[in-house]
């Protein structure tokens, strides 16, 4: 009778801390759905009550159904059958069945397509709990962004045909983007037209009637065995960059073959497929040429928040094993949690986890705010002043999201690697053994900093929001207002940190070009994150005394870190680039 919602004090606290009512105002569009659907909420309080109940059910499934099967799923993985179909691990199959029965496969879809119309933040919390149960299940449960993309950009006809069966859980989807030569660089998705060589990357072609077909190979496709495949392919052979790519929907059928399941380090329950499309009939999603630059970018932003949530789940799972072990494991006549070094290790793990959760929930919250503003604008606003305000708000949130989404993905994924590593450190030799789940958490954690954009790519995206002033003005807003006495010395330190950040930004800009910025990008982003989290912890301290202690501790360790990063940036050092051949040494001679 485990419940990963009810047993998580931090999630419970944040659920109340975030203003879910304002999000409901947006997603429920003035609560107009209550007339049409007898289960839709009539006001904000009811919506929030629904969110709590929904998460409670997800927490129960994650604790009672998902978590107990994670170990077996990790061992047995999925099976590729000779006919090119894939059989999920039993635990994954059972979990998906339960989640479908609970109506959880259309979390954010509109009611009219069988969805729950939840804000992204609520879905993020659900993703975290599922991942705590089994990180690899999240790779399927967390793919609901595919249905969201169809809902946002496809024709009504396509929506009607696919979304109800996706929200019921009958069908799952896959985002089919990467190719052997196009991973981080999706613009390199191949240009060739109708190519019959089966090794060629997937390309689309049109017959005389204008019907689209996909042919060729896609690689590293999570849940490529799903029924609804969103395929990125070049529809404009004459345009070689991202503007030549469009997004297509291919339904599973004899024309799609899973040729291979990858043998991975972790997330064994997630089927990573190599697909061959044999002139598969395809439907264009939205407009041509917007495939990558609009639709996939939108899909990817949602997926990044999802991976951040997955990271939180892995971190939480590893942390719990470590915390429990440290209190029960006795050495030298006492529990190992009583040793100062262990205390510091455990404190750092927990703060890291709480910081990442705060960052990701704020990132999700701002995504919801942007969507809310856009939705209200779409519905039409009579009042000119209000319309103007909404437009300003949507632009502001869009700008913020280009900063917060990559920050959340970067910080949370790096966090879960650190926490899983330290969890093994806490368990010592036992942690290195397969007898405990922490080695699985470490293996599962390793992918999170890679897929949906590596940490390095997240930093490249985030640092632009840092140097552009978005981070500084957000921090300025956070600092404003009257702080209670306990917080004043903390806010003073944070303000000193803000000054250091501004100085480092000015110095970086003065170097001209983007090379210096990209060289020191991670440091700039790390300073911004340390300050953001510091302020957020202080805000949380206004509602919960324990968070004041957390905020104080955060600054004890992060302020020196900020000063270190600041001085490195201010040094003007470019040796990693300038002296690369010496410092990295030449490529070792081959045999």
């Amino acid at each position: 009778m485990a419940n990963f919602f009810a047993d998580n004090e931090d999630i419970q606290f944040l659920f109340d801390h975030f203003n879910l009512a304002t999000l409901a105002d947006g997603t429920e569009e003035g609560y107009r759905f209550a007339k049409e659907f007898d289960f839709a909420p009539a006001d904000a309080a009811e919506a929030k009550d629904n969110y709590r109940r929904i998460l409670n059910v997800v927490g129960e499934i994650a604790g009672d159904v998902v978590a107990p099967t994670a170990e077996e799923t990790d061992k047995v993985g999925n099976v590729l059958n000779p006919d090119g179909s894939v059989t999920y691990a039993p635990g994954i199959k059972e979990s998906l069945k339960r989640l479908s029965q609970a109506d959880m496969m259309g979390f954010t879809l509109p009611y009219r397509f069988g969805g729950l119309n939840c804000p992204n933040l609520v879905y993020t919390i659900a993703n975290e709990m599922i991942s705590r149960g089994d990180a690899s299940l999240m790779n399927i449960f967390g793919l609901q962004g595919i249905a969201e993309t169809i809902n946002a950009f496809a024709s009504e006809e396509i929506k009607q045909a696919y979304l109800p069966r996706m929200s019921s859980g009958e069908w799952t989807g896959a985002m089919v983007l990467t190719e052997p030569d196009a991973g981080s660089d999706l613009q390199a998705v191949k240009t060739s037209g109708h190519d019959t060589a089966s090794e060629a990357p997937a390309a689309v072609w049109q017959d005389a009637e204008g019907n689209w077909f996909v042919r060729g190979v896609k690689r590293f496709i999570t849940n490529g065995c799903g029924e609804v495949l969103l395929v990125l392919a070049r529809s404009e052979p004459e345009i070689s960059d991202g503007r030549g790519l469009s997004l297509f929907l291919v339904e599973r059928g004899p024309w799609v073959k899973v040729r291979r399941l990858e043998n991975k380090l972790g997330i064994h329950g997630s089927p990573t497929c190599e697909l061959f499309f044999n002139d598969a009939p395809a439907k264009l999603i939205g407009e041509r040429q917007r495939g990558l630059i609009t639709y996939v970018m939108s899909l990817m932003n949602g997926a990044r928040i999802g991976i951040a949530a997955q990271s939180l789940g892995i971190g939480e799972a590893a942390w719990r094993v470590a915390r429990d072990y440290a209190s029960s494991r006795k050495q030298f006549g006492t529990a190992i949690e009583n040793f100062p070094a262990m205390r510091e290790l455990l404190v750092e793990m927990n703060l890291d986890l709480h910081a990442a959760r705060t960052v990701n929930y704020w990132a999700s919250f701002h995504v919801d705010q942007e969507f809310s503003a856009l939705k209200l604008l779409e519905a039409g606003v009579a009042d000119k002043e209000r319309e103007k305000a909404l437009k300003t708000a949507s632009r502001k949130y869009k700008r913020m999201n280009t900063l917060f989404t990559p920050i959340a993905k970067y910080y949370a994924s790096e966090m879960c690697m650190r926490v899983s590593m330290d969890a093994i450190a806490t368990l010592g030799g036992s942690g290195y053994m397969k007898d405990y789940p922490v080695e699985r958490h470490l293996r599962d954690s390793r992918i999170t900093t890679i897929y949906e954009g590596t940490s390095q790519l997240q930093v490249i995206a985030a640092v632009r929001g840092v140097v552009s002033g978005t981070a500084e003005s957000y921090l300025e807003d956070l600092a404003a207002g009257n702080w209670p006495e306990w917080a004043v010395p903390l806010v003073e330190q944070l303000n000193a940190g803000r000054a250091l950040l501004s100085e480092a930004i000015a110095f970086t800009k003065a170097q001209g070009g983007t090379e210096y910025m990209d060289l020191h990008g991670r440091k700039l982003v790390d300073i911004a994150i340390a300050l953001l989290v510091g302020f957020w912890f202080c805000k949380q301290g206004l509602a919960k005394a324990a968070k004041q202690v957390v905020a104080r501790r955060w600054l004890i360790t992060r302020m020196p870190e900020i000063r270190k990063l600041h001085s490195m940036i201010m040094s003007g050092d470019r040796s990693a680039i300038a002296d690369f051949e010496t410092l990295a040494a030449p490529v070792p001679a081959g045999e």
Binding site: N50, I61, Q101, D103
Partner: protein, 305 residues
């Protein structure tokens, strides 16, 4: 077509979360100190009824509980999972009923449901562990019964094939409907609450609950004013399909001499409050000798034989 199922469920104190205050000084269970939950095996009975409905062409699943208005929460849980109708049997005259009186009252309630093909109960409740109500109910309804059901394999032409647990194995039995089944927690895992049903049926109420809410919200209203408000809310819920039916002993035409204290021959001889205390632990060596020693010890103290 399809088969009509009636499931009898019970709200029980969560005996797995026993704390220091779980027992009264007189040795009875302090229900207030323990969270009330859906009796675990009853959830499996509900699941089996829903499976019968889903697999064999429809029919109606009615869930009935006997208890105070607080038991409505268990009925709402049944609605979240898919029950079509729920009924609270509640009456002060039913208080202190033992298993015999309870099964009599429930038999009257089942009779009121009209044509019923399958009556289902959990094997036993975790507060009393008697496993008596199901079999007694079958006798009172004059129905054949199959206890310890693990799996319903098929229903064909009114004949049901069932796998039942017999302790050290299982047997497959067949019988003709109507029939009563008591279900084990090794049967099909209960489905979770469905979110959209949850959002809808969280508002389902029984009349007694509405009366309590109106009294709390309108403390200064006249009795007549309160009654009018209750009637208004009741009609509103009726329109929206959110009614928890509420029956008293008269509604189900129960003979009072078989109900409550009068209908309960059980006399409690003595209640023993057994307090198990941990006395440290014992290390067992992971060797053949260590295990053999442990087994010998367990045989000697009659834990195993």
């Amino acid at each position: 077509m399809g088969y009509n199922c009636v499931v009898l469920i019970k709200q029980v104190p969560d005996t797995k979360r026993v704390t220091g205050e779980a027992m009264n000084p007189d040795g009875t269970v302090n229900r207030a100190a323990l969270p009330a939950i859906f009796n675990p095996e009853d959830l499996y009975a509900v699941e089996l009824a829903l499976e019968i409905r889903d697999r064999f062409g429809g029919g109606k699943v009615t869930v009935i509980t006997m208890g105070p208005p607080a038991a409505c929460e268990a009925l709402r849980q049944a609605l979240y999972r898919g029950a079509d109708e729920v009924v609270l049997v509640t009456d002060r005259r039913a208080a202190a009923s033992d298993t015999l009186a309870t099964s009599y009252i429930l038999s009257c309630a089942v009779r009121k449901c009209g044509q019923v093909d399958v009556v289902l109960c959990g094997r036993q409740a975790i507060d009393g562990d008697t496993a008596q109500v199901g079999p007694q109910l079958a006798e009172k309804l004059n129905l054949p019964q199959v206890t310890y059901v693990e799996q319903l394999q098929d229903i064909k032409d009114g004949v049901v094939r069932i796998r039942r647990n017999v302790g050290n194995g299982y047997e497959i039995v067949e019988g003709r409907l109507p029939m009563l089944l008591t279900v084990l927690d090794t049967a099909g895992h209960p489905r979770p609450a469905a979110a959209r049903r949850l959002m809808k049926y969280k508002k389902a109420r029984a009349k007694l609950e509405l009366e309590a809410a109106v009294t709390a919200e309108m403390p200064n209203a006249t009795a007549e004013g309160k009654a009018t408000e209750v009637a208004r809310r009741l009609a509103d819920l009726q329109n929206r399909g959110l009614i928890i039916h509420q029956w008293n002993l008269d509604d189900i035409k129960a003979d009072l001499q078989w109900c409550g204290r009068d209908g309960s021959p059980t006399k409690v001889h003595r209640i023993q409050s057994v307090i198990l205390t941990g006395k440290g632990h014992k290390g067992i060596l992971p060797t053949d000798e260590g295990v053999a020693e442990l087994v010998t010890e367990l045989i000697e103290d009659h834990t195993i034989s």
